[in-house]
Structure formats: structure tokens, C-alpha cells
């Protein structure tokens, strides 16, 4: 059976460990004196980057990974508002088939689109989920885990705190599943308005609403991006109120040795003050590097034993 990467949920712990191990190799290569050495792993393969939702860093990261492995990349930016019905997804599927691609990297603002594509695309086309709605963003969770492991070693029993808008976050969901599989202890810190109901039970995490001392004994903190438009929907009063409650301010980071991660782009002065974003504890740029390595590892894994 051909492999896909639809979500972290479908991966076994062994598969996750395997992917992380593979990515370490690519990471070393990217840090070597010849980082742009091309591999021929994806020679003759065509990968379609199908981005229905805006993305700069994820798309760039995938493109770099594809090019370094020798694939031909095509970009289909099909930004549609989630509420307009103009573009039929089925039509898009037919377009992809007609282009004879080998792999589709898909991002969409609705949960479940990779699963829907899997239902409609022929079996030989592999699918990578580059983020679907509030559901999953598996490569982000993998690159976060690779970044964390590089600093912390095994994540077993390590306290990882995820701060911010959990409700709308696919990054949070994929991270909760993955960190649990690796044995970490996950604590969510989020306002009640941005905390999905029953999240403790569904994801097996601890939930608190006050930042207080939570980061003092944490090994790492993953701060999530807050979308400004949530404010107009009464989900929090304003950015400064949010920063006061959940922002990583200089005072707060002084109290902890925890590493700081953020999926980007950072709202400086909201989730992270400059003192946090630029501190020695910040792993934000490491995450970006690991991102390319993880995506190369995912391609390798998808296309091996063919």
C-alpha cells in the first residue's frame, strides 16, 4: 500500500521515531558545507503544491525540500474563501489527475480536505497534509518534535506547555497527539474562549487558563500565533489584554529555562516580546531549518521501496 501523510493521528510511534531519525540526516546535510547538494531521490517525480490557503513559510519549505530531492514542483495557488462555492473541489481533483503528478501537498482552510482528496484521487498519487483547517498540520508537529529532541533528548515525561489559541489551531492538535505519543506531559494554557470543549479528554492533556507558574518548570513552551480577527468575534478583549495574560514577556522568560518555540509568523509584542523571540532560548529559526529536513524525510519515507 502506498503511504500518505494525512495526519499525526495515523502514524505509529515507531513511524514517528523513524521520520525524526531520517530528518536528522537531512538536517546535518543542510548544515554542512554543501547544503545545496541535490539528491536524486525524487528524480522524474512531479509534486503539486496545492495551497488553497495562504502560506509563505510552509510552502517555501516544501518547495525547497522537493527541489533538493530533485523533484519537479508545480504550484497551484487556489485561494478561495471557505464560504464561496465557486471552485468545485472535484474539478480541482480532475485537474490534478490530468497533470499526472505523483504527489500532492495540500493546504486548505477546511478540516478533512486531505482525507477527501484521498477518497477521490487514484491510489498511486501520494498526499501530504500541509495543514487542514483546525485539524492537523503533521509536518509542523514533526519539525517541532525534531527541534525539541535536538535540545532535550527523549521527550518522555518532559513538560511541554502550549500557549494561546488552541481552539483554531491545527498546530496545537497535531502537537498534542505527537507529544503524547512520545510520552511528553502536555499542558495547555489558553483563555476559556479559545479552549475547545472536552480537549482534556479527547487529547489527554492538562488544561489551565492562567499562565502563572506553568512555564517555570517546563522544558519547553510552544507559543501559538493569535489571529487578530478573533478579537472582533469577542474571543478576547484586545491584543494588550492577551499579552498581559498569555504573552511571553521579559519578566516571564526570566523565570524559566524553558526553550521557546513558535510556528510563525510571530506577532511581536503579542505572543512573544522581542526579548523572548530573540533570546538564546528561542528555537524559532531552528524550527525553520528542521522544517526543510522533516519535509525531505517525509518525501523519502513516502517514496521508498517503490
Amino acid at each position: 500500500m502506498n503511504r500518505d501523510l494525512l495526519g499525526i493521528r495515523q502514524l505509529s510511534t515507531d513511524q514517528i521515531t523513524d521520520l525524526l531519525r531520517r530528518s536528522d540526516g537531512y538536517f546535518l546535510q543542510l548544515n554542512s558545507i554543501d547544503p545545496f547538494r541535490k539528491s536524486s531521490l525524487l528524480d522524474g517525480r512531479t509534486v503539486a503544491n496545492l495551497f488553497f490557503e495562504n502560506s509563505t513559510r510552509t510552502k517555501t519549505s516544501f518547495e525547497l525540500a522537493e527541489k533538493r530531492l530533485g523533484a519537479t514542483s508545480v504550484n497551484l495557488s487556489m485561494q478561495t474563501s471557505s464560504l464561496t462555492k465557486g471552485e468545485s473541489l472535484i474539478d480541482t481533483v480532475n485537474v490534478i489527475c490530468a497533470m499526472k503528478v505523483d504527489c500532492v501537498v495540500v493546504r486548505h482552510s477546511s478540516s478533512g480536505v486531505p482525507q477527501l482528496l484521498r477518497k477521490h484521487l487514484p491510489d498511486h498519487i501520494r498526499i501530504i497534509n500541509a495543514g487542514d483547517g483546525g485539524h492537523e498540520h503533521p509536518t509542523q508537529a514533526l519539525l517541532d518534535a525534531a527541534t525539541l529532541q535536538a535540545k532535550l533528548g527523549s521527550l518522555k515525561n518532559k513538560k511541554i506547555v502550549i500557549i494561546g489559541d488552541i481552539l483554531h489551531s491545527r498546530v496545537a492538535r497535531s502537537n498534542m497527539i505527537l507529544l503524547n505519543k512520545l510520552g511528553a506531559k502536555v499542558t495547555l494554557v489558553s483563555p476559556l474562549t479559545l479552549t475547545p470543549k472536552y480537549v482534556e479528554e479527547i487529547f489527554g492533556v492538562r488544561v489551565v487558563h492562567e499562565l502563572a507558574d506553568e512555564i517555570k518548570d517546563a522544558s519547553a513552551v510552544i507559543s501559538l500565533r493569535i489571529q487578530f480577527e478573533r478579537q472582533s468575534r469577542s474571543l478576547f478583549p484586545n491584543l494588550s489584554d492577551f499579552r498581559m495574560r498569555y504573552g511571553l514577556t521579559p519578566l516571564r522568560i526570566m523565570e524559566t529555562n524553558a526553550f521557546i518555540l513558535h510556528p510563525g509568523p510571530v506577532n511581536r509584542g503579542v505572543e512573544l516580546d522581542n526579548e523572548a523571540a530573540d533570546s538564546e532560548k528561542s528555537l524559532i529559526l531552528q524550527q525553520v531549518k528542521r522544517g526543510v529536513a522533516i519535509r525531505m524525510a517525509v518525501f523519502e519515507w513516502l517514496f521508498e521501496d517503490k
Binding site: K85, L89, R170
Partner: protein
């Protein structure tokens, strides 16, 4: 239409009758004889013990015509209804243009004329379903409308709803509300609960439905005497609110759909947009409350909310997919399987909620299965085990999560308006 039906089981709540091994003679669409071992010149149809019930009535069907004929037409929608065992339906007014004036009513009546299925028509409550000004109720009443609704959305303003109740009461309209507090459901695509948390899909909380049910009950009590009907009720709290209102003597009634007593929000994980409904599929506790409501009479009837949509509107991402599923063809199979064969509801009670009660709410004469009466009958193979498949769909659309579902009990024919429809043997 002349026929001699052999070996029937007549079940008729109005006459209080449940009799096996009976023959029925129908001449020119009228029941002329009922008895054992009847002789007749009419063509014979051996029903081999099938149920004969008063014709089923579905109070909540979207025929989509005029305006959205690519989804369904009056012709295909009534065919779906007949093959689902319904001899009467009420079509909902969210057409294009909406059923806000007598011209649209005349158009539908003309198209439905001569059909085996009686088509009652629901008018809008407010002009063009905008929730702002009252629909022209006298004109709608004069064109034969008995029910009004802005179905598809709730009347958001309490003030407008109060006036709908007051003005509508003068015509004794059944005022049917789609109970959804719109400010709480914007941009949602499924029930808010464990599954929406797991899938990261914005959730429509039960309380958004309950708030409107509660508000409307208070308004109906305040106005006094208006007939208020909750469309496609889906939550445990709404069942309780209706129960309490009924015990206080408020004229409130409600309906549930087969999908809301069959599926939970977990269906979204496998069926994606084909499990996207409004109101959404809820939780197991809600199903249990609905079943108790059917048992104790809190819930008056089963309606399908038959909502055809074209494939490109459903086989798409869940946020932009349309709400609803087709329901006529699966209603009896799901009702008998999940309510009657499972021992939760007696067959007699099931027929009441499928025929007697909706007809009473629509102010239609009750069907009696007796000599001299017009034959308006639903024929059901009560023990037939079958798997629902696309070959059973008569609707123009096929948006349903029930393809492949095993069912027990199948509608096999309907007789009405001096016509009959029979299912070919599978």
C-alpha cells in the same frame, strides 16, 4: 385505479384497527370492500402479509422548485416521496423566489396537480425570509397555506417573532421555526462537542438551538393560543423545553428527522459533508432524549427535512459544503429499524407520528381505512431486510450518508388520488 389487495395487515390508529390476513378492494381509488377472502373483478395484487397503513405525511420537504431545479424538481421530489412511502408532503418555502406570495403558490400547485403525492405548501413567515417584515399572510392564507416558516434560518428578532405569532394566530397558521440563534452559529459546520474538538471544525452548540426554542415558547405563551411548531428538533434540552411547555398547556408541537435519531456527530468523521446538517447531528444522549420524547408524545411527528443538493455542493470541503441530506427514501427504513424493530416504539405509535399527527397539525382530514373512504394508503413490507443503495434513490440528488446501510422494513407501495405506485421486486 382498481385493485384487489390480498392478504394485508391493516393498521389504522384512527379506527383503532390492527388486523392480519385481510383483503381490500379498491375501485376508482375508493375502498369498496374490506374482508376475508374477497372476490372481485379488479386486478389482484397479493401483498403477502404486508402492512397497509394510512398514507404517511412528511411535513418537511425541500422540493427546490422554483429556482434550484438542478437539485430537485416537483416531479423528482414527489417521486422520491412516493417511493419512500409518502402520500403527502409539505414543501418548504426557501425556494428562489421564496414562497412569499400567492403566485409562487399557484406555480407549485399547477406543477403538482394530478400527482399521486398530495403537495401542501408552506409559506414564509417574513417577506422573502429576511426576518424583517411580515409575509403577506392574508394572501398566503387565501391561497390555501396552513403553515408558515422561514426554514433555513430562524427569525432572529424576538420582536418580529412576536408579531409573526400575533398576526399568524388570526389565521391559525402553524408557525414553524427553524431554531438557530444565528449569532452563535456563524461559520460552523457541525455540532460542538468532542468530535468537533478532535477534528478542529467550528462547532454549532446545542444551546444555540435551545435558546430559540425557549424564547419562542415564552413568546407563544405570552401571545397565547398561537400554534407553534419546532422544526427538526435535535437536542435533549429542546425536548425537555417542549415537554414542559406542553404540560403548561401551551400549543407547541415538534418534529424530529430520522437522521437525528439515527446518527451522532461521529458520522462526520466518516461521511464528512454528507453528515453536515442544520441542525447538526448531535450526541447519543440527544438521541436517547428524542426517543423518550417520541415515546411519551412530546414529539408529535417524524419529518424528513429532505434536502437535495447537487454533488458539487456536497462532495467538497466541509466548510463550504451545503447543509442537509435527502431523506424521503430512507425515512421508513430508518424509522422501523431504529424505533419499531428495536422495540422502542410500538408500530401503532410509529404510524401516528408518521401519518395521524402530521395530518392533524396540517389540518388535513384523517385517513380512515374503511369502506366508502378514498384510498390513501402506504404499503410496507414490515420485515423486509434490505441494504439502502443508489438504486433506491428517486430524488435528483444523492446526498446521503445512508448508502450501504442495512435496514429492516421497506415501503413497497403507495395508493392515493386514484393512482398507485409499486416497488419492483429487488
Amino acid at each position: 385505479m382498481d385493485v384487489l389487495l390480498l392478504n394485508c395487515r391493516i393498521i389504522d390508529p384512527v379506527m383503532g384497527r390492527d388486523e392480519c390476513g385481510v383483503d381490500i378492494e379498491i375501485i376508482s381509488g375508493v375502498i369498496t370492500a374490506i374482508g376475508k377472502k374477497l372476490k372481485s373483478k379488479a386486478p389482484i395484487k397479493d401483498l403477502q402479509g404486508a402492512l397497509i397503513a394510512p398514507g404517511f405525511f412528511d411535513m418537511h420537504v425541500h422540493l427546490r422548485e422554483p429556482g434550484q431545479e438542478y437539485k430537485e424538481t416537483i416531479e423528482t421530489g414527489t417521486r422520491a416521496a412516493a417511493s419512500g412511502g409518502f402520500t403527502g408532503i409539505c414543501c418548504m418555502p426557501n425556494t428562489e423566489p421564496p414562497i412569499s406570495d400567492p403566485f409562487v403558490v399557484s406555480f407549485i400547485r399547477a406543477k403538482a396537480n394530478g400527482n399521486i403525492v398530495d403537495v401542501e405548501i408552506c409559506g414564509t413567515m417574513t417577506k422573502s425570509r429576511k426576518g424583517e417584515e411580515l409575509a403577506p399572510m392574508q394572501a398566503l392564507f387565501d391561497s390555501g397555506i396552513k403553515m408558515i416558516s422561514d426554514d433555513g434560518s430562524a427569525v432572529a428578532s424576538a420582536e418580529v417573532m412576536r408579531r409573526v405569532f400575533e398576526y399568524g394566530k388570526m389565521f391559525d397558521f402553524l408557525c414553524t421555526e427553524h431554531c438557530e440563534e444565528p449569532s452563535m452559529t456563524k461559520g460552523t459546520a457541525m455540532h460542538e462537542g468532542k468530535i468537533s474538538t478532535k477534528l478542529g471544525i467550528p462547532g454549532y452548540p446545542s444551546v444555540a438551538e435551545d435558546i430559540i426554542v425557549a424564547r419562542d415558547i415564552l413568546l407563544a405563551e405570552y401571545v397565547g393560543g398561537v400554534r407553534y411548531h419546532v422544526a427538526h428538533l435535535s437536542t435533549r434540552n429542546a425536548v425537555q423545553l417542549v415537554r414542559e411547555a406542553k404540560s403548561k398547556g401551551i400549543k407547541v408541537s415538534c418534529e424530529v428527522t430520522p437522521h437525528h435519531f439515527t446518527l451522532t456527530d461521529e458520522a462526520v468523521e466518516t461521511h464528512l459533508a454528507n453528515a453536515k446538517m442544520n441542525p447538526p447531528l448531535r450526541e447519543n444522549e440527544d438521541i436517547q432524549a428524542i426517543i423518550r420524547g417520541l415515546q411519551d408524545g412530546t414529539i408529535d411527528c417524524i419529518s424528513t427535512d429532505h434536502a437535495p443538493h447537487a454533488s458539487h455542493e456536497k462532495e467538497t470541503d466541509i466548510m463550504s459544503a451545503a447543509y442537509g441530506i435527502i431523506g424521503c427514501e430512507t425515512a421508513i427504513g430508518l424509522g422501523l429499524t431504529n424505533l419499531v424493530h428495536s422495540g422502542k416504539l410500538s408500530l401503532m405509535k410509529y404510524i401516528e407520528v408518521s401519518s395521524t399527527n402530521p395530518r392533524a397539525l396540517m389540518k388535513l382530514p384523517q385517513i380512515k381505512i374503511s369502506e366508502g373512504e378514498k384510498a390513501n394508503l402506504t404499503v410496507i413490507d414490515f420485515d423486509k431486510e434490505w441494504t439502502f443503495g443508489s438504486e433506491h434513490i428517486q430524488s435528483k440528488s444523492s446526498n446521503t450518508p445512508f448508502i450501504g446501510t442495512k435496514l429492516k422494513g421497506q415501503p413497497v407501495g403507495v395508493i392515493n388520488n386514484n393512482q398507485s405506485w409499486w416497488r419492483d421486486k429487488d
